[in-house]
Every structure is written in C-alpha cells, then in structure tokens.
Symmetry: C2
Subunit: 306 residues, 2 copies
C-alpha cells in the first residue's frame, strides 16, 4: 500500500514559469522538497540552455545539490549532447522524452517519431552502461492538441520499444490534460494485456481541464504506483495563461493518505515546499490544497464555513 | 447514460463572493446558464437578508426570472419564515439544509440537529403540500471542520428522516472538501445496504483540497446521477482566501462527456457562462477548464505546449 510521488516541480514546474530563479533560490526550493521526505526529485533539464533559459544552470545546479541520502536526483536528457552534459554534472538518474503524436513530436523536438526513437535508444544505452536509472517520458498518450486522438496501439508499440531500449519505467504523459479516467483504465488495460504491466509505468497527468487527480486515481486502481506531480501545481500551461500545469503534489498526497496509502512525503512537508515555491516566484500557484493551506496559515482560527 | 448537473453558482457561488451583484447582473448570469442547457439552477436563498446580503434580493430576483421552459428554479429555504418568502416569490423547487455534525449545525444555524430536523419536517411538509419539489442538503457528511470524523450511521439516520419527511432528494455535502473517493464509495454503500439507493442522492462536493471531481466520479460509479456544481468554480471558501469552493461545472461536464455520458448542459454553454460570471464579478475564478478556456480565448491559435 505504498505510492511513490515523483516530484517534477524544479524541472517541469520551473521550465514553464516566466521568472528565472537564481541558483540559490532553486537550491532553497529543492531543500524544502527533500525535507518533505520526497525520494525522487526531478531537478533540471539538459536540453539546450537557449530552449529553456529557466534551467540553463543545469550543470551548476547538479554540482550544488545537497547531500540527501535516500534521494534520487533526476534530470531530463533530450539527446547525446544532453547526455554528455548530464554525465559531466554527475546526475544519477535521467528521463528521456518523446511524443506519441507525430505532429507534437515534430513541433516539440523537431524530429519524426522514428528519429526520436533512434536517438532515445542511443541515450538510454549510454545511461544504462553508465549505471544510471532511466525513465522515458512518452507524452500526449491520451490526446494531442494538434492531432486529437492518439492511437493506443501506437502507445503500446512505443512503450515496448522504450522498455526494450533499456528504460526501467515509462512515464505516460497527459501533456495538455486531455485524459479522462475511463480512457486511463482502457489504455492501462490494453498495455497490460499486451504484456506490459502497470509496474512499468508512471503517470504524468496535467490538470489543464481539472481531471488530473481523477485520472491518477484511475491509474492507482489499475496498479500504477508512481505518479508525477509538482508542489502547489507549479508550472502552468504555456499557451493558456492561468491554466494549470502538473497535478499538485499536496492534492495527491492528501487524498492518498486519506485513502490509507503511504507515500514518500508528508502532507505538511510538501505543503511547506509549495509555500516556499510560491514565495520564491512571488506569485500565487494553482494547487487546491496549497491555496487552502495558505488561507488557513494567514487566518489561523478564523472559521465560519457555511 | 445521463447525468444531471444541478447548478448552484447563483446561490452557493454568489453567497460566498464579497462582491454583491445587482439584480440585472444576476439575471444576465442566469440567462447565460439557461443558454447552456442547464435544467436545474439554484438561483437564490431565502435565509435572512442580514445573514447573506449577497442574496438579499431573493424575492425580487425570483419575480424577474426569465421564461425558461424545462428549467426548474431552486432556492434555499432555512425555516418557516423563509418558506413564506419562497411561496410569496413563487419558486417551484426548494432546498432545505442542515448539518450532520452537531457543532457545525450549531455554528451555522444556531440549532441542535434535533431542532433542525423538526424545523425541516415542517418546511418540507409545507412545500410538499404546495406541490413544490424538495431537495434536502445534508452537509459535512464526509467530515466536519470542527469535529473531524462524522459518523456514517448518523448520515444514514438523517437521510432516512429527511426522506420520510418528504424530501425527494438528499444532497450529500462535502462542505469543506474533506472527502476522498474511498470514503464516498463506503458511505454510498452503507446507505444502499440500509435501503436508501443512489437514486435518492445528489453529491455536493467542494474542491477545497482538489478532490471534488474524483469524489464525484466515485459517486457516479456507485449509481449517483445528480451532481451539484458551479460554473468556473464560483464561490470560494469563506475562511481560506484563494481556496476553491464548488466543483466547477465545466470540469465536470468536460469529463462526463469525454467518458460518454450525456448531460443537461453543453460544455461550450457552461464555459461561456463561466466567462460571464468572471466578467460580472471582475475577478479570476478557480475552475480549471474555465482558465484553460479563458487562455485559449485570449490567445487563439497560439500553441506551443511542451
């Protein structure tokens, strides 16, 4: 009865914020995440600094990460050049990424799916040879903002290919929050009946349309035990101002604990980390529990619910 | 495969906003809800105007409601005096309310549960004799902000009492968003095995901790077919600034339709109504789909999701 939260706030969260945090601020944020008990923290990305200036300090950041026994640091790696920077920095675990939609992959990575898969195979082989942990993000698996429906059979085929390439886990991404719980059950069912059980998957659900938590709980029912989230729902949707990004870690941890699951983070700890993120960025963040927590912090004892 | 959304924006939404909308603005908002196809709209409350100044114009509002064939107008009625005002105004459907937690009932209504139940019986009997539809809100059934856990057996007993009194539907309220899907299934299971099937219930879930949609979908699995919601998530939590109130109608309609259910509202219609509410109140509202919709409206065609 244990669930692992894979915290993506410092990477997927910060890369979608317009404010670029200085290294010290990032480290303060990361320290607060460690204090919450989180064991898997995705801290940065080795994509071209020009593409994501928010994370341009990736090598420097990894070199300054705190000593945190039991914590696995993750970083996004797009290609061979990124892999070289990751190895130089000394990150112990990497995440590769590609899309299951041809158009989204082309627009996001400027490659065909075939080209991406070849590049992934090379990066994953290098990482495995170096003894790194590897997860592979497969995005837009529940729908593509350009193409609409994405073939579940293609998701099966790409998942098989990425596992064969050596990835230990596939993180199925609902990149623009198009999934619904019925679809989550159907896709995981198809994957399972194709020989890829839920223990090989994480779910990376965005809350663009408000269904992220419901989708995650459908995945939980199907046996998935790793879920990606960012504290306070850090990381909006770049093309819809005000829209939500990742599922908020607090909302996830709250409901899991209420349902009797144990997690790798305390609710108090991730709530505090969400406050740290909000203060460092100087803005309100969308997570529900986060906002409730902020409200009760600022008005302790004032209760007149109706 | 049909679900009824009971729209509470004009009542439960507006009563928790600090801005008091003038009558004309409320009517504009209500017209937009009617245009979406919604068939059940809770428009106001006949509590003492001093308690809820936002809805002090209840009688006037009901007299000016548009001619909308197929729409049932609902209003909250707390007691005999409120019932008299409701009859004077000519509302066709009423909602009574009480809490399943002694402390919450005392703080909210200044009565014991026993006193409330006696008052409800009288109001419901009058309403039924006048040929009105009646739903009874039973709040804090999934937890009380003062007492913590609420006995499921008490919820069974109070539901039975309210149905025997003549209420046609009980709306189970998660007043401060403390519920989780496991608990929803357990409570509805207990009610069902106590002889009160899911067709007698609506769910009224607040999104304070982000679990409202997941809780509603658990109720859907258990056979509940009426869900309360407010467009754009209108209506925050009065003691936690920034915290969410009702489940957002758009988020609910989106996921229901995506899962193949038909509803009494179009997604486009409720999205437009959410924009009307946001403009009239002059503030951002918390609904996820609402914010996504706003973003895509203001930046049509600009897509670079990653």
């Amino acid at each position: 009865m244990r669930v692992t939260v894979h915290e993506v706030g410092p990477r997927d969260g910060l890369q979608n914020e317009t404010v670029v945090l200085p290294l010290e601020a990032k480290l303060e944020f990361i320290e607060s995440l460690v204090a919450s008990g989180l064991t898997d923290i995705e801290v940065t990305s080795f994509v071209k600094p020009r593409w994501v200036p928010q994370l341009a300090d990736a090598v420097e950041l990894v070199k300054h990460l705190p000593d945190a026994p039991g914590v696995t640091w993750w970083a996004l790696v797009p290609n061979r050049v990124g892999m070289e920077r990751a190895l130089e920095a000394g990150i112990p675990a990497i995440a590769t990424f590609m899309s299951s939609s041809e158009t989204h992959n082309k627009k996001n990575i400027n490659r065909t799916i075939r080209e991406s898969l070849a590049a992934q195979r090379e990066v994953i082989a290098t990482a495995v040879a170096e003894g790194l942990q590897v997860r592979a993000y497969l995005s837009t698996v529940f729908g593509c903002p350009y193409e609409g429906d994405v073939s579940p059979e293609r998701v099966v085929a790409l998942s098989q290919a990425l596992l064969e390439a050596g990835a230990q886990t596939i993180s199925l991404g609902d990149t623009t929050g198009m999934a619904n719980p019925k679809q989550v059950r159907e896709l995981l069912g198809l994957l399972d009946s194709s020989g890829i059980g839920p223990e090989r998957f994480a779910l990376h659900m965005h809350d663009t349309r408000g269904a992220a938590l419901a989708n995650v709980l459908a995945g939980l029912d199907c046996g998935v035990r790793i879920f990606d989230a960012s504290v306070a729902g850090l990381g909006g949707c770049p093309y819809a101002p005000g829209a939500s990004g990742n599922l908020a870690t607090e909302d996830l941890v709250h409901v899991l604990q209420a349902m009797g699951w144990s997690t790798n983070a305390t609710l108090e700890g991730v709530s505090d980390a969400g406050l740290v993120a909000s203060e460092l960025l100087g803005k309100e963040l969308p997570g529900r529990y986060h906002r409730y927590h902020m409200g009760t912090c600022s008005k302790q004892g004032a209760q007149n619910a109706s």
